[in-house]
Symmetry: C2
């Protein structure tokens, strides 16, 4: 089934306590390569049939209106998923 | 700053109540193109300097050991982000 991926991240100027907690935990577990971590959301929207431009536009609108909170979050990506990368 | 993206999704056989709630809300808002929705997580790991194979391997291990719960989640993607797509 074709899948549209929507990625939502906290805006750069917004504090991200989950990301901070992970950034603190990583070096304690031996992962020292990472300076900063941000945690956001990834949505997979499954579409019956083909992904038309109209459906992709619907996904963009849904991303802006329902899947993200524009006060604190940015929609960083809306794209059709490569089948090889699909999780379901 | 180079960024590694880690995408984590609930396993297909695991119930995803957030995804179900979104799938229920979309048609009420006029978005009728989507059959199923899954909600997962997206992590951005910021790296000082260049992303070497060793750092990418560290990110893969961290994704499996810290960023995901292997009982209920799959790491679906670990990749270096295109600068053009970066949110921070």
């Amino acid at each position: 089934m074709p899948t549209i991926v929507v990625d939502v991240m906290p805006k750069p100027e917004i504090l991200d306590p989950q990301g901070k907690a992970i950034a603190g935990a990583l070096p304690r577990l031996g992962f020292t390569a990472f300076e900063q971590v941000r945690q956001g959301k990834r949505f997979e929207l499954h579409v019956e049939g083909e992904v038309t431009d109209q459906i992709l536009e619907q996904a963009r609108t849904a991303a802006a209106e329902l899947l993200s909170n524009p006060v604190i979050e940015d929609v960083v990506n809306v794209a059709v998923l490569d089948e090889s990368e699909a999780s379901a």
